[in-house]
Symmetry: C2
Subunit: 453 residues, 2 copies
């Protein structure tokens, strides 16, 4: 099942300087989609992407939206062959952290490490796919390979559906490979096959027009912050994290025994997890319980409570209003709309004066961990990295994936190349040649397998 | 028991233009103790007060502190006579509300109304006492009359104990009359005879070093805001206001039946109360229950919750820490230190990771509503205003009163002259001639009664 092993290895070694040079050019464009001052850099990034694709033999196009444009590329093999779309994104997180040891948008090479904002999320993986696609094309692999590079992933993909509506420029492929996830540990390849959904809500309660001195009204006036705390606690057991409003868990499909087994063999370590996120203590120290909680179980989080006095010290007022900000991470097969109805019903009974507003929801995503696609991907990773990957899940949500699933209705698989130590969304982000070269190899193997399916 | 009725009436009428002129000068000094930019105005105010006192025949002095100085004045009658100290304050609240129809520090006379910040709180009442003291002195009432004008009342009297430690300049009198409270309704004179105490606390909980994306850790990480909501709800029934931690009510002395009767005949109206403080709904609509709650029953208020995301919308992070700001209003005979110990014990059992910090406490105050002093004061008010006053309480705390009580250990009585419509701590504050002239008369009658005790 492996493909021209020595030729691909030679190609990868030869291409290394070009890869590094091209990644450097990408990193040095500060394509921060959340920063309005970077609008011209966003255009520059799209332009460079089109140049790269054309240089590499693809037919490329910019797909305009109300927001920033996506970029698509295609290596056409023939109508009779299968097709695949590789999803990556060109935009990056801001890089304002004081901990950066080098300027974040000055590419910096340190041995095998390629440092700079966006190096691992997601420019390095995008470029890796590009090199693999050209190799596959030149090697005559009979597969129509497409790339779809979004520019608004870091701001929640607000215009991604508009991108997909360009059916001529952005045709659906037979399957999708998303390359924007992180392994659990180095040398422990992991394939994501599930994402949690998200439901945000604000509980708003107003009991007066203005904050009043508590000596004047305290005891008689209602306290909206106290009532919102009560509402929070009526939804959630703060200690265990158990969600308390009726019906919340009804549709949850728990992870299978096989999945749980994969989870615990993924290289996950409780101690490292605590260190990585600087958590002082956890709700559980059992790795299996913890993995289920963060990847495959729904949550209810309190993000903030506005209203009253939030400056230093204590100001003895009875607040006029408050807003509790919460969100729920959802898992298959929870439906965000249904959960929102259950939440509203519960709060209406508990405290009818509380207004419940949702600012957005994302469906949970259940990927493929069995069958031809899954096996082909596992084989490809094994070829590229020398170790067979396990299937894990992501605790977060990728808006674009939910949109792709709803629109194209084709298999979506994940091949992430980032490592925890690469500093996703963190200062001193980097990508490395080990993940890049292994990734090129794995991509080529996967393309080869797809072409024979 | 009444004193030279026609002479005092004539004096009051004759003095009206002088009173108005002097009050105008006081109001036009923006003595905002909480505003560091007003430091020179604070000194100007103290200087003017000394000039007034000396002009009115008193021996006056400035009493320096680490903060702003107090001013004292004395009309000496003789060692063999009793003494009284009238307490007022010279500092005022800020006046930043956009609702001011006239510049707050430009004195504005509108018929019987004297408008401007500080007119009723507390410059008008202070000046009223000054005019009464001079009359008493000139009429030969054998009483040593002193005034004690503080300059830091609006910022919690942080240096008032230091003032009282100047025993030579600020000697203790046989009794104190505090003139800094508000009637319940116009034409319904009310004498305060109780203040609630105060205990502030901050519940601090840190579970991580930094906010983390909830997709990465949500479900496994603890949520400090959720745990603080739980702590809040474990202390307080948000709906009823009942305090839930053990021992809180143990030492509460409920108001007597006579007091409750006075409360409901004080002119209090639930509708007006709601309107005055712009409250949409209350915990009770029964006037008796409401009055007990706001004047004579302890409370537990949530003032704010810091930590996490308090900007617009929802940010899906697991917060690293939170701080819940609370306070309790206490009633006789609750002891703030004891209550704080009970609170800490309760929280230690509920959630030992929460740190509980108190930023300050004030003892509750139980005044005099029976006996010679109380009767003399009721008689005086009846002379001045034509109606016998009832005894009520204040739901708030006056730090200086607790300090006076602890230091001098003499009877402390209250003769407030402000009306609810005067706009205490509110925009368009005013004092009026009806309360000023009635107050002068009542002060004189009270001085006369004291001299004969």
């Amino acid at each position: 099942m492996t493909f021209q092993d020595s030729r691909i290895r030679t190609y990868i070694q030869e291409q290394r300087p070009t890869f590094e040079d091209m990644l450097g050019q990408m990193v040095e464009i500060p394509s921060v989609s959340s920063d309005p001052d970077k609008a011209s850099d966003m255009q520059k990034m799209a332009k460079l992407a089109v140049d790269y694709l054309e240089e590499f033999g693809a037919r490329a196009a910019i797909v305009k939206t109300k927001g920033y444009p996506s970029v698509v590329g295609e290596w056409w093999a023939g109508r009779q062959y299968p097709s695949v779309t590789i999803y990556n994104h060109l935009d990056v997180q801001p890089a304002l952290e004081p901990e950066w040891r080098q300027p974040p948008f000055a590419f910096y090479k340190d041995g095998n490490r390629y440092c700079g904002r966006g190096a691992t999320d997601d420019k390095g993986p995008a470029l890796t796919a590009l090199f693999a696609a050209r190799f596959a094309r030149e090697a005559g692999i009979p597969l129509n390979i497409r790339v779809l590079w979004e520019s608004e992933e870091e701001i929640g993909s607000p215009n991604f559906l508009e991108v997909l509506h360009n059916r001529k420029t952005v045709p659906a492929s037979d399957s999708v490979l998303v390359s924007d996830t992180i392994w659990v540990a180095k040398n422990r390849p992991a394939l994501s096959c599930g994402l949690r959904g998200l439901l945000t809500a604000r509980f708003v309660l107003r009991t007066g027009e203005t904050d009043v001195h508590s000596g004047l009204v305290g005891g008689g006036a209602r306290n909206p912050l106290a009532e919102l705390c009560d509402a929070a606690v009526s939804c959630l057991d703060a200690k265990t994290g158990r969600v308390k409003f009726p019906g919340f868990y009804d549709d949850v499909v728990p992870p299978t025994r096989t999945e749980m087994k994969d989870f615990v063999t993924s290289g996950f370590q409780v101690r490292r997890f605590k260190e990585a996120y600087q958590l002082r203590s956890l709700r559980t120290s059992d790795p299996k319980d913890l993995l289920k909680r963060i990847w495959a179980w729904p949550t209810f989080e309190i993000h903030g409570l506005t209203g009253g006095h939030t400056g230093p010290g204590v100001k003895t007022i009875v607040p006029a209003w408050g807003e509790l900000k919460v969100s729920m991470r959802l898992v298959p097969n929870q439906n965000p709309q249904k959960i929102f109805r259950l939440l509203k019903k519960h709060l209406r009974e508990r405290n009818p004066d509380i207004e419940v507003i949702s600012d957005g929801a994302l469906e949970p995503f259940r990927g493929i961990s069995e069958g031809l696609y899954a096996e082909a991907l596992q084989d490809a990773i094994e070829q590229g990295f020398g170790r067979r990957p396990v299937f894990v899940r992501e605790g977060g949500s990728i808006g674009a994936v939910a949109t792709l699933q709803r629109t194209w209705k084709v298999p979506i698989l994940f091949m992430g190349l980032s490592l925890p130590e690469h500093g996703y969304h963190a200062p001193n982000e980097y990508f490395d040649w080990g993940q890049g070269s292994g990734g090129m190899h794995a991509f080529v193997e996967y393309f080869h397998a797809l072409s024979r399916m």
